[in-house]
Symmetry: none
Subunit: 377 residues, 2 copies
DNA sequence: GGTATAGGTGAATCCTCGC
DNA sequence: AGCGAGGATTCACCTATAC
């Protein structure tokens, strides 16, 4: 029997009539996932039990006891049991994903290799492994190993042919205009962000920082997407999803975590809608054929166009093709041919003369797109 | 039939009468390992094929072709075949290790999860996973994923009860007196260190940097130890072992690699024991991209920011971009656009309001850096 | 002889749409 | 489904050449 805790009046969209959006489902994650409709979820974030094999009673050099993860939910009899559990929840998760859906799983060296192998065996398609470098990891108190200063995340598509969401431009521009790398630096979750119980202890032993989820959801979901977290804990995924205008479905077994998550989620304020807007990336911008530049008089048939260094030139013809020596065809084809290259982006390769300077013809396309924007507004 | 290439007159120690020390064994690594005496090796370093499964023909944005790893030795029919190969060589390797011996294996997300699972299944005992962060990785040319900027190493003991060598003090000393962490930063192998053939091409497609092996051997072997490398390639492990006064046994199948390794090893001069200390680069201030200020809650999405004289303003958006009138993009890009300038340092140009006063957003970056410094101290 | 510019390159599972 | 065409995409190094 499944119990459902609903924390908000949920706006249920068409076609998602049975999807318990912005809700925590209380109980076993495999049972709950199997009861949800197939192909209904955009992204899954999972922070499964790590199967830590800790010896009893780790103490710090000052003899104080380390509050280790020793909860029952992290206990498995063997790798075989852990693998069985892992494969069952990953299989249930895959059924829930839309064809272009993706999954994130976080883990440590105790379990991430089992998870990665299972993902590959279940025909997920690996996209990246990401390293969360902890700014403030727990030191290795015994001085017997390297400080365990990172955790590993796997980002995988539902299948090899899935065309997953990746907000490349957002990642790049938020990273001082260079590509976001696979190694991320964040502090662990401490201070006021860390949920405390009545006796001021941690509510959850492995609460993840919101910054981590912020980057994940920003990078691999769109506003309005549905994000499922089968190991919801105290609801970090839900909290960030709400802030970012995404929907969540949480599944959690422990009542104490559910209670803490509900309280936390009730206090979340979504960010302003206009702060969720993103720059339209070039690849999502409407297609503008070169011919329409000529039709609209932005460039005249008979004009000569050049590459940046004037090593090549071509003649713009009335039918939207260009000609250069023995070659003629599209701006792309001719750009490739004159260079002896396989391919070429004619929009950035070719330039026209304007007040003695060369400007890429892509600037004219941008003018047309701006004009289209105005007209449709 | 096994062939043996011996590059030096080897000093054979007592009890190691049959151990081909400081030698390259030419041929299949599993055959060779099975022919060596059990329990005779202190450490194994292995850089096995990664099973990359690359598609045809990746080009850079400038249309130049990427010289991919397409060697036959990296081709496997399926994960099952790769697993079978992995388990066979790891089993042979384990037989060779002394009771307190250990192994290092390096890989990428294509193979490292298979390797890690196999290690655990074969009763190796995992000690750390280590992340080699590449200072200069190849970018993601298509803008479809995060830059694959690291590789993963696993350090594992022969068994749970092995008492492995770990030179904790040496690591701490060489790391500004703080514990060495599990994330290591090194450049990839380029320049004069990279072995070139007659036509100036690379001899081996995946030559590892000596700095990586330096740290590994410094951390987990003692002078005089025997280090086996079953995928010897052009002999980085052997070169560093000799420099550090350790013995090596290399196994390699490809004659071209063996020839290059022999030539390389012949030129190695072991350094004096007292000169083994490595110089440690000063830790640079961590780069803090604007997006991480939002992720970490130092500035909220939806906040307005201004230039010093409030002539311009912009909206901070959740994805790390800012928007001002018709412009949106990075803090730098939009700073330039609103001024009509070519470039702009957004960190000093944009300000936020704090108790009625404008403070540059650069102050928030300084806060994050100070916080990270504190946390890691 | 330094300095500026140009060119090359690295373990990479690297596109999308319409016919 | 496969195919062809449009057109999107790069960072930190290194070396060589030109002044």
């Amino acid at each position: 029997m499944l119990r459902t805790a609903r924390n908000t009046a949920s706006a249920v969209a068409d076609g998602e009539a049975r999807l318990p959006i912005d809700t925590i489902l209380v109980g076993d994650c495999i049972d709950h996932m199997n009861a949800l409709p197939a192909g209904s979820v955009d992204l899954i974030f999972a922070d499964p039990p790590y199967n830590l094999q800790l010896a009893e009673g780790l103490t710090r050099p000052d003899q104080s006891k380390v509050d280790a993860v020793d909860d029952d939910w992290d206990k498995f009899e063997s790798f075989a049991h852990y693998d069985d559990f892992t494969r069952r929840w990953l299989k249930a998760a895959r059924r829930l994903l839309k064809p272009d859906g993706a999954i994130w799983v976080i883990g440590s060296y105790h379990n991430i290799f089992r998870v990665g192998t299972a993902l590959q065996d279940l025909d997920y398609w690996m996209l990246n492994d990401i390293v969360w470098r902890k700014a403030n990891p727990m030191p290795n108190f015994r001085g017997t190993r390297f400080t365990n200063a990172h955790e590993t995340l796997i980002w995988a598509a539902r299948s090899q042919k899935s065309r997953v969401t990746f907000n490349y431009e957002a990642m790049k521009l938020s990273n001082d205009d260079t590509q976001m790398r696979s190694d991320w630096l964040f502090p662990i979750c401490t201070g006021s962000e860390r949920l405390k119980d009545e006796s001021d202890g941690k509510v959850h032993p492995t609460q993840k920082p919101e910054a981590l989820l912020f980057r994940i959801l920003n990078a691999t979901t769109k506003p309005g997407d549905v994000v499922l977290d089968p190991f919801f804990g105290t609801g970090t995924t839900g909290a960030v999803a709400r802030k970012l205008g995404r929907h969540f479905i949480g599944i959690e077994r422990e009542d104490a975590y559910v209670a803490a998550a509900l309280k936390r989620l009730a206090a979340i304020k979504p960010v302003r809608a206009d702060a969720l807007e993103t720059t339209v990336p070039k690849r999502a911008a409407p297609r503008v054929p070169f011919g329409s530049l000529i039709e609209q008089g932005l460039i005249a048939a008979g004009t000569e166009i050049y590459d940046e260094r004037r090593r090549h030139s071509a003649l713009v013809r009335a039918d939207g093709s260009v000609a250069s020596g023995p070659f003629s065809g599209s701006i792309h084809r001719v750009g490739a041919l004159v260079q002896g290259a396989e391919a070429c982006n004619g929009w950035t390769f070719w330039h026209f003369e304007h007040e003695g300077l060369l400007r890429p013809i892509d600037a004219l396309r941008a003018d047309i797109r701006a004009q289209m924007q105005l007209l449709s507004a």
